[in-house]
């Protein structure tokens, strides 16, 4: 009853606001109202941007957005009898409506993200049996060894957990391939992995045929295992020691729970972060998703399976005959299916695995194409908004998650709309300069402020736009193709361990330069028009400003597609761990300062420079997190330098036995706290103004860098060290 009253009250409030914003008020009133609301939002932002105040500020913003939509709908569409204006004008209108709808859905999803749950690490009195699946297709054995070793090192009774390496690269089908080279390769892989798994105490499993890709592989695993729960890790996602402790407990609290999902934390930057050098200072792209959106989805019991770093209940999976494989994003699809059958999900906001993400722009785009196409397939085959069994909030949440991937369409329209006016004189948005000031400008500022309110610490201003733009160029054809032919796309494994040894342009960078040139011509056209046609300078300036914004974005993207040469394949994580360093048979006291997937930097006290030599063998002895264990990890020395406390030595792991992999895993992955700290160090809301200024500086520099790369590419040289690598030299 109380709940009903609350809903009625809210509905009345909404109706009142809706009634007020759809009044046909005058332009000056709109201007004053818009300014007042902006000022109110700013004051709220400075005073208290959280809790109930955040919701009030969002209500302010919503009012202005709704006024904009009302005005846009009632008085800006070109007349129907001018089809040359109306058709592009209407497309632009639809694109804007899509943006507003997505804003509304996001508002719903992240209206009140669930606060982090208290840890369940110490409340496990029962230990259900767990099967850990590590599906693999073509990853390198070293990488798999780390993952398996880390999985093996998880803090859980050894008899209650079984690790499975599910190898799809060594199936009978592959080994009997008609191409003899492929067959031999598969045979070798099969034998090598089998041996490695055995050494690490992991069960190796492969199958007859490569059917249904990853979903089929895992379903095969399901058939051969019996555990109550299934934990899934991608081949390059290594769990921390406390992964199972933190997640398994929830399954006893709720018998209808099918999923506990945890965030994906990446040790290496994505190509955007790498090329723009923002990995260390700015929150990663996926932190918005895992830090806010999944928490928001969790509020509505709609957080979904992301393919890895999650625990699932076998009983639930059996109900749907395992993982669903209709789409190429089997993870989300499985979650939709189980949610619709009344199962629940939980999201634990604590990084418990560390993984790798695509390093080159091309593979990044490949991964995103798969997500976009998969989500389109889910939209097409499952259609969450009308799927029976889902609750209303869940429908909205899945709508938000799937429709998001339509963004290439509006992005494209926003990109080219100003050019229609600048080049062809089409009037696709009928508004005067004053109206533009009072409505559109207010809407744009409010929109940015709302984004800042929603995601402030997780997403800096304009970064979402940049990511959407760089994906749009190649995602648009991918999305169009999946819409035309929904069953065509097939699962392609994303390569994540590539490295770029020298600076070059991405192989798919050409369209970005073409678009940039086109927009640049648009700017020139703006200048020409302002002088040649002064009687419509106001409109030209407004449209030219819009085009300039696009140009800044496109310029920044030039930097994104200019791949920097990197020495280290993976980033280093700061640690601080006592160890002993073996040098020529002597044991010296030392501290491990940072580690990566391939090597570590050790601060050795009391060492002499002359003792050290490049490529010399050495060893690191340290205590592992598993109680009482200690081991020696063989390394080779790559470089060294004197510091105030001794000598800093950069070394490369030389794992020879399974035991060594365990030590490497323990060094990098065992302690999930360090990842959290790293993430927290990047979080910070620069605010709208500072963020915008920062982005502008970044964009100008990246435009320059992109053009320099282009010039070098034309000259056919790629050997010179890239510009501005001075700050980024790492060993």
């Amino acid at each position: 009853m109380r709940k009903f009253l609350t809903v009625i009250l809210w509905a009345l409030g909404s109706m009142a606001v809706l009634g007020l914003v759809t009044l046909p008020i005058s332009l000056d009133t709109q201007l004053i109202a818009g300014l007042s609301v902006l000022i109110a939002m700013m004051i709220l932002k400075l005073v208290r941007p959280d809790g109930i105040w955040r919701l009030i500020a969002l209500a302010f913003g919503t009012a202005i957005v709704m006024r904009y939509v009302y005005w846009r709908t009632t008085s800006t569409l070109p007349p129907l009898n001018q089809p040359e204006n109306f058709i592009p004008g209407f497309l632009l209108y639809l694109a804007e409506l899509y943006s507003v709808m997505m804003l509304a859905l996001s508002l719903f999803v992240v209206a009140q993200p669930l606060p982090p749950r208290p840890s369940r690490a110490n409340s496990n009195d029962r230990h259900p049996t767990v099967d850990v699946f590590i599906p693999t297709y073509n990853e390198e054995p070293e990488l798999l060894a780390n993952t398996m070793a880390a999985a093996k090192g998880m803090d859980y009774p050894q008899d209650r957990v079984t690790i499975w390496l599910l190898d799809d690269g060594g199936t009978v089908q592959k080994r009997n391939s008609e191409k003899i080279a492929d067959a031999n390769k598969a045979e070798r892989r099969h034998a090598e992995l089998r041996k490695l798994a055995e050494d690490l105490g992991v069960r190796y499993l492969t199958r007859e045929r490569n059917e249904h890709a990853k979903a089929g592989n895992m379903n095969n695993g399901l058939q051969h295992s019996t555990g109550e729960l299934i934990a899934v890790f991608d081949a390059d996602h290594a769990p921390a020691r406390d992964f199972l402790k933190e997640t398994v407990g929830y399954f006893d609290e709720d018998p209808r729970l099918f999923l506990v999902q945890t965030p994906h934390f990446f040790l290496n930057p994505d190509p955007v972060e790498r090329n723009l050098r923002t990995f260390e200072k700015m929150p990663s792209e996926n932190e918005m998703f895992y830090g806010i959106i999944q928490r928001g989805l969790d509020k509505w019991n709609a957080s979904f399976f992301c393919g890895s770093a999650a625990v699932l209940r076998r009983q639930a999976l059996l109900e749907t005959n395992g993982f669903s494989g209709v789409s190429i994003t089997e993870d989300c699809e499985t979650a939709v299916e189980l949610h619709s059958r009344g199962w629940n999900s939980v999201y634990v906001d604590k990084p418990l695995i560390a993984g790798l993400q695509p390093a080159t722009f091309a593979s990044f785009i490949g991964q995103r194409s798969r997500w976009a196409q998969g989500m389109m397939q889910i939209l097409r085959f499952r259609f969450p908004p009308l799927k029976r069994g889902l609750s209303f909030p869940q429908r909205l949440c899945y709508m938000s998650s799937t429709l998001f991937w339509l963004f290439p369409f509006p992005r494209t329209i926003f990109l080219f709309a100003p050019l229609f006016y600048l080049f062809f004189d089409l009037q696709i948005f009928t508004a005067s300069g004053g109206e533009f000031m009072a409505y559109t400008l207010a809407y744009m500022i409010v929109n940015l402020m709302m984004q800042n309110y929603l995601y402030g610490a997780f997403r800096w201003p304009w970064v979402s736009e940049l990511y959407e733009y760089v994906q749009t160029v190649h995602l648009l054809p991918a999305v169009v193709s999946v819409i035309l032919n929904p069953s065509k796309p097939t699962f392609k494994v994303t390569a994540k361990d590539e490295s770029i040894d020298k600076s070059r342009l991405s192989e798919i960078s050409r369209p970005f330069f073409v678009i940039f040139a086109l927009l640049l011509v648009g700017v020139a056209m703006t200048v020409y028009k302002v002088y040649a046609e002064p009687y419509k300078a106001d409109v030209t300036l407004v449209v030219g400003g819009w085009n300039l914004l696009n140009l800044i974005m496109a310029g920044c993207a030039l930097g994104v597609v200019s791949e920097r040469g990197e020495k280290a394949a993976t980033r280093r994580v700061k640690v601080s761990r006592r160890c002993d360093f073996e040098l020529n048979g002597k044991w010296l006291q030392a501290t491990i300062e940072n580690v990566s997937a391939n090597g570590a930097r050790v601060q050795v006290i009391d060492a002499e420079l002359e003792d050290l030599a490049k490529d010399a063998r050495a060893g690191i002895r340290f205590k592992t997190f598993a109680v009482g264990a200690e081991g020696i990890l063989p390394v080779t020395i790559r470089n060294f330098e004197r510091t105030s406390d001794g000598i800093a030595v950069g070394c490369l792991y030389m794992p020879e036995k399974a035991e060594h992999h365990r030590l490497v895993a323990d060094l990098i992955f065992a302690n999930s706290k360090q990842w959290e700290q790293f993430q927290l160090s990047r979080r910070g809301n620069p605010g709208l103004l500072r963020g915008t200024a920062w982005f502008l500086r970044l964009a100008i520099f990246q435009t320059y860098r992109g053009l320099v790369y282009l010039l070098r590419d034309w000259r056919g040289t790629g050997r010179i060290a890239p510009v501005a690598q001075t700050t980024g030299q790492r060993s």
Binding site: K3, T6, V7, L9, W10, L12, G13, S14, A16, V17, G19, L20, V21, L23, P24, I25, S26, L27, D28, T29, L31, I32, A33, L35, S36, V37, A40, G51, I52, L55, I56, A57, L58, A59, F60, T62, A63, S75, P79, N81, Q82, A111, Q112, L114, P115, R117, D298, K299, W300, P393, D425, T430, S432, G433, G434, A438, E533, P534, Y535, K536
Partner: protein, 803 residues
């Protein structure tokens, strides 16, 4: 003799009023702000005459020797020299053509049409048309033409070539062209500059038709003699464009006579329906009738017996109304009489009933035919109006500034001036000669309301191009909407000799264009004098007789009250019943109209209407003088010094902000303050004030002046259509010297419900109120958003997972 003197003063005042006041035909006030008022230096204009009528010599009376036009006249119309001073008989066989004094045609293409009501005798008489006009020196005769048509047939079609002296021409009217009842007269002037091709030069083109020497003269000396009461409709105007009813009422001071007299005046006013009508009530005759003036004798048979040589038949027996020829009062004297006052009232009622309109029936048009055709359509709700129905025909145009006007009628409870937007769907085309930078402007009541720039070169056909027109400048009653196309071409920029007269069509406006009026908020407000001016609101729709309070012993006050009520009835389009036998104390909760010189107005009424209480002793002490008004002069200087230097740049941005957003301090006010008491300036001769009645829902209006004489004279000025339409605000004063109306704007008002409740209407009313009170909107929006935020917080607290 005293009366003559007053009349002379009055006429002088009127003519000077036309010289200074922005009359509806004086295009000089309608220039867009950008157009400089001065012609370019070095341009070939001979005479810098920015405002026609202001600097040129007064139009010569018909008595002056007239002159044959310089250019050869067309064969159909042989101009002739006109005879001098009319004799009395000639006077009544003459029908002045113009409904008001100065008719000026300015710009390159202007037209105007109206109707002329003729009696059967006039229609059947042979007639000729006399035309007097003068034009600006820079009008090129070879490419400028003046045309006058009657009932669609051209009577005058001459080159415009009378720049030196006014010419007075005579044209025969073809037999059978005129008919009894309404005849349509249309005048159009196409004018081109002799040498100048600029847009500015088009503002210097003018041709003025002289009202005194433009008339139909009938060969039949008896043609002007009336035979029946309906012939009152043919009263027309005098040489100065005014219409006067002299009511001769021997018993005017009797209690019972006032209300019937007012009713008679209202009926006569509705019948004649001329733009400038006034009533003079006296006990004595005032002289012989002339065109545009009539003597009306009202009273019981015994009372009027001595005024007339001979009573009409039946006067002693039954209610009688008749037209008589009287040696003392002249021909065509209207007599309304009966054995007693009941019978007189009955006779008045017989005249009044056919012209009345029931309160429930809505007007489709405003009756403006006697000064403007087509009649203004009333727009009460959402409606599409085709230009062809509004009197705008398809026009091909070869000049540089095409201006065409139409009128729409707005109800008095119109309340959309803050938010409303009408739309014009324009069908037009321009040729490839027209350069970008040309524009099409829309003016509402001479205020710019929209501008559409032409941005493409190479010509274009505009099909139903939507143009949003702000309704800010609409007001109750009829409103003029002007469409002005300003066309630039390369040929004009070069301006080779003879280029001004080129006939290449550049622009065409199609009559399939439409004016789209949306549904607008409708609620009456009080005080709102513009509603009185527009439709006589709120007095046009009360269900009781309107208390009309004036000093009965003063003929001037009575004349003023009658003129006011007659004018209000014309605005309302129906008779407004009045009750003259109430005391001010009895109307505290009702509508009431007070008319009287300031000493006779009760001080309680003055206080109620927000006028300083001691005004009675001070106002009018100094006689209206021609001393310049400080405010006006200051404004002129500010205007003059605007736009130079960097301060000019700043203020031009300010101007842009003001033009675009119309934001003033009023936008930021939350609660209206109390209006300060008003003290009329000594230069003003008439004051009109309105306020809600002390109790109840009524609305009080006061018309007052320093003295009875100024009251009557001021009321006569006010009753002129163009002055009357300037009425507005809560208090309006008329400047005695210039006839300019000054308004005190309404700051606090109360709503008067006029429509049955509907959600849609209330939504629009709220929209308008909030648009006028921007800060209130912002506050309400913020409050509601906070409420929504709180409700959302509660909702989120009770829905979904909490932990």
């Amino acid at each position: 003799m005293i009366v003559r003197g007053v009349l002379a003063v009055l006429l002088l005042a009127t003519s000077s009023a036309f010289a200074d006041a922005p009359s509806p035909f004086n295009m000089s006030t309608e220039k867009p702000a950008a157009a400089p008022a001065q012609p370019e230096p070095g341009s070939a204009t001979v005479q810098p005459a920015p405002a026609p009528g202001a600097t040129k010599p007064a139009p010569a009376p018909a008595a002056q020797p007239a002159q044959t036009p310089a250019a050869p006249a067309p064969a159909s119309a042989q101009p002739a020299v006109v005879a001098a001073q009319p004799t009395p008989t000639q006077a009544i066989s003459r029908r002045y053509l113009l409904p008001f004094e100065n008719m000026v045609f300015s710009g390159e293409s202007t037209q105007r049409a109206w109707t002329l009501y003729l009696t059967p005798e006039q229609a059947s008489s042979r007639a000729s048309l006399n035309l007097g006009y003068q034009n600006a020196v820079i009008v090129a005769p070879e490419s400028s033409r003046l045309r006058l048509t009657i009932n669609g047939k051209a009577v005058v079609d001459i080159p415009i070539a009378s720049s030196d002296n006014p010419s007075a021409l005579k044209f025969p009217v073809p037999a059978g062209l005129l008919h009894a009842g309404m005849n349509e007269v249309a005048v159009s002037a196409v004018q081109r500059h002799r040498t100048d091709c600029t847009i500015e030069s088009t503002y210097e083109l003018w041709t003025q038709i002289d009202s005194a020497s433009t008339y139909l003269s009938f060969e039949d000396p008896e043609a002007g003699r009336w035979r029946r009461i309906e012939d009152v409709r043919a009263i027309g105007a005098d040489a100065k464009g005014s219409t006067t009813f002299n009511l001769i009422v021997p018993a005017m001071e009797q209690t019972g006579s006032a209300a019937p007299l007012v009713r008679l005046a209202e009926a006569l006013a509705l019948m004649a329906n001329m733009p400038n009508q006034s009533f003079e009530i006296s006990e004595q005759a005032r002289g012989m009738p002339r065109p545009g003036a009539v003597n009306v004798v009202v009273g019981s048979a015994s009372e009027i017996a001595e005024k007339l040589e001979k009573l009409p038949e039946g006067a002693q027996v039954s209610p009688t109304s008749a037209i008589v020829d009287d040696p003392k009062l002249g021909p065509s004297t209207v007599v309304i009489t009966g054995p007693n006052w009941q019978a007189v009232e009955q006779a008045i009622e017989d005249i009044a009933r056919p012209v009345d309109r029931p309160v429930a029936s809505q007007r489709v048009v405003l009756a403006t035919r006697n000064w403007r055709l087509p009649e203004t359509p009333m727009v009460l709700a959402a409606r599409h109006l085709k230009f062809s129905d509004l009197g705008v025909s398809t026009q091909e145009f070869s000049g540089r500034r095409l201006r065409t006007e139409f009128n729409v009628g707005i109800p008095s409870d119109f309340y959309a001036n803050a938010y409303g937007q009408a739309m014009i769907l324009l069908d037009a085309a321009y040729s490839q000669d027209v350069l970008p930078g040309s524009h099409i402007d829309i003016y509402v009541n001479d205020n710019i309301a929209a501008t559409v720039p032409i941005t493409t070169s190479g010509g274009e056909i505009l099909r139903h191009l939507p143009i949003k027109v702000t309704m800010r400048h609409f007001r109750p009653g009829d409103n003029s909407v002007a469409i002005e196309a300003v066309l630039l071409t390369q040929a004009d920029a070069t301006c080779a000799p003879g280029a001004t007269g080129l006939q290449d069509k550049r622009f065409v406006l199609f009559d399939s264009s439409e004016l789209v009026m949306p549904d607008f908020a409708r609620i009456g407000r009080t005080p709102n004098l513009s509603a009185v001016s527009g439709t006589g609101f709120p007095y046009n729709r009360a269900d009781y007789s309107l208390p009309l309070i004036f000093e009965r012993t003063q003929p001037e006050a009575m004349s003023a009250a009658t003129t006011l009520m007659a004018q209000m009835s014309v605005a309302a389009g129906r008779l407004i019943p009045v009750d003259t036998a109430v005391s001010p104390a009895a109307v505290m909760d009702r509508n009431a109209v007070f008319v009287g010189a300031i000493p006779t107005v009760p001080s309680a009424v003055l206080a109620e209407l927000g006028i300083t209480s001691n005004v009675a002793s001070k106002w009018g002490e100094a006689v209206a003088s021609n001393q310049p008004n400080t405010d006006t002069t200051f404004d002129e200087w500010r205007q003059k010094l605007r736009g130079s230097g960097w301060r000019g740049q700043v203020s031009s941005f300010e101007d842009w902000m003001n033009r675009t957003f119309n934001i003033s301090m009023n936008s930021f006010r939350l609660l209206p303050g109390r209006d300060p008491d008003f003290t009329p300036s000594n230069g003003s001769t008439l004051l009109v004030a309105q306020k809600k009645s002390p109790t109840g829902e009524g609305s009080w209006t006061l018309v007052t002046a320093p003295s009875p004489a100024t009251l009557q004279q001021g009321m006569r000025t006010l009753a002129q259509q163009d002055v009357w339409r300037q009425l507005g605000g809560r208090i309006a004063t008329i400047d005695g010297a210039s006839s300019k109306v000054a308004q005190v704007p309404v700051s606090s008002f109360e709503f008067v419900e006029t429509e049955p409740f509907s959600l849609q209407n209330y939504r629009l009313i709220i929209a308008n109120w909030l648009s006028a009170n921007a800060l209130a909107y912002a506050l309400v929006l913020i409050c509601l958003s906070i409420a929504l935020g709180l409700a959302t917080a509660r909702l989120l607290g009770s829905l979904g997972r909490k932990q």
